[in-house]
Symmetry: C2
Subunit: 342 residues, 2 copies
């Protein structure tokens, strides 16, 4: 199989595994037509049904792909890891359904969000169901690997869920605060973004049968990939092409989001911090404020942190001794995530 | 140990196990003072901290007690089942936190609800954290029993969570509907109330080492106990002393809740159904409407169903051949749940 075919094959298998996990809704207890609408909410969110369904609505499936590539690069049979791949993707989607309620976001990927279409009570519950299915999905590793691997994997995913809620708590709490230390920012991002990516690479190594001490390198790879990715994302939120044009959907300055460059500048206490304290930013201020942030060293700081964490991620990846095409694809995926243009 | 001491001992052990599970928040990833408020939300909801904390605020811990008694009555060491007992209690409390948001309820057990105190976004997230801790809690069976039992138990609890969300979906969907069949009502209640009680008794038997085919009797006991309990609860919601005095918090007629007697009468299509279709019930109508429901056979129907399911529950319990003091206490607990006065 050539490289493109390997990635394509993995993505196709993920798209087959996911509906099979969602189908567990009908396998026990209540079933039938009364639950058609319930299943439809989950299928809509996953981009399979409803207005705007299609590849664009499904997202990039980065997390399951990262998991399967890590497994294959560690010499494992990636097809056995599919239940875990479905599990991480469904945990990610559970968090998106609840995030959209918490952030009062009416749109995601150009489509109305679940709460906008079905109301907040049903959307909270749809997220809860997606989460139960994620864990039931990963437990199917019992059949493709062993009961012990399935148990360890389920626990790794559950710990990642706990970290997600800790990160989310801090993110929500920080909205109401004026001041935030850089350490607080990193703690939040470790939970909210990096914990699930760390679980992906750890799970890939676990299914491949990598011994526990070596799995730590895989985990380290995913964790730092997540941190570097978030720093990069925060850079784009100020200096990406879309952000600089001043569209509110793209600029963290307009959204009032406490992203890394902004937290850095607020801690500097200079001109940017004084302007920020005066209230919401207007669209025509965006280019000048971006220049001000840069002048105060925010861009250089974030670039430096992103570079350090990218270096840590790639160094950890090398320690896992990635093999074959999957190993090359894994490095390429990391590169794609970390060197995006605006 | 005499009977009272056995129940007391179990309840004390449950109250020790729960904080130890909640403490897992600080064991991995982010920790420290930034998460003090997060832990405080969970401790508040569980009745340990904040205004009105104390035994009254904690609930009766029926589910973990049912689990431990089932384990002991099946000849098992109930102390080994404590991680499972904590798991079911935390799943129950996760569902309460989200229910209170979904039902827009500002009070529970005389105290403000989590969303009322911390807002909806943080309350959704606190429920999500409670759920992750529930599952991490039950996985600690790995240490008190075996990896296999821990895996099976985690899956049973996860399946119960899926059933909970299915029941909750139907409950929310039914609010907006005029008509509801009795079958639809029972499907909803099976998910929303009975599935977790069935998991409690199944888990107790699992930890005791009961073979799989015999565990079905334990599960059947919990399932029918849950259904009978709900029918009984719905009776009290119309004909209980508190409901008949017409206090809105106690009467399902005033709350407009589609409980079993009401669903029965709506399907009869008589005078009650015609009145119900005309809009909200006023407090001074409550006694007459309760009499009308009774005249149309709703009370007799619900009493008959409660009796049938109580019979099924007790028959299934007998098949498990319950032993010793725990066996007697289990029958007494079922009796207490099913023969409550208003």
């Amino acid at each position: 199989m050539n490289k493109d075919n390997l990635t394509e094959g993995m993505l196709e298998s993920i798209e087959e595994e996911l509906p099979s996990v969602i189908g567990m809704i009908d396998q026990t207890g209540a079933r039938g037509s009364s639950l058609r609408e319930f299943r439809a909410m989950l299928a809509y969110h996953l981009g399979w049904e409803g207005d705007g369904a299609g590849p664009e609505a499904r997202g990039k499936r980065i997390r399951p792909l990262l998991l399967l590539l890590t497994c294959a690069a560690a010499g494992g049979d990636w097809q056995r890891a599919l239940p875990a791949a479905a599990g991480v993707e469904l945990v990610h989607n559970f968090s998106l359904i609840h995030d959209d309620i918490q952030d009062n976001s009416p749109y995601r990927r150009g489509r109305e969000t679940v709460w906008k279409l079905w109301g907040i009570p049903q959307a909270i519950n749809a997220g809860d169901a997606m989460l139960a299915l994620a864990h039931l999905g990963i437990m199917r590793l019992e059949h493709s690997t062993s009961l012990e691997v399935a148990f360890r994997a389920a626990r790794i995913l559950q710990l990642a869920c706990l970290e997600l809620t800790k990160g989310q708590h801090l993110d929500l709490a920080y909205e109401a605060r004026r001041h935030l230390t850089l350490e607080e920012y990193w703690t939040m991002v470790t939970g909210k973004t990096a914990a699930l990516l760390a679980a992906c690479t750890e799970l890939g190594a676990l299914v491949a049968g990598v011994p526990e001490d070596c799995r730590a390198h895989s985990r380290e790879f995913g964790l730092n990939l997540g941190l570097a990715f978030q720093a990069q994302d925060d850079l784009l939120g100020i200096w990406g092409d879309a952000a600089l044009t001043g569209k509110s959907a793209e600029s963290d300055l307009l959204a009032g989001k406490k992203s890394l460059p902004i937290v850095f500048a607020l801690n500097q206490g200079g001109a940017f911090a004084r302007r920020w304290a005066q209230g919401p930013v207007h669209a025509d201020e965006v280019p000048a404020l971006a220049r001000q942030l840069e002048a105060e060293g925010a861009r250089a700081y974030v670039q430096e942190r992103a570079a350090v964490m990218t270096e840590r991620a790639l160094s950890a990846l090398q320690k896992t001794n990635p093999q074959g095409q999957a190993g090359e694809l894994l490095a390429a995926l990391a590169d794609r995530l970390l060197n995006r243009s605006g």
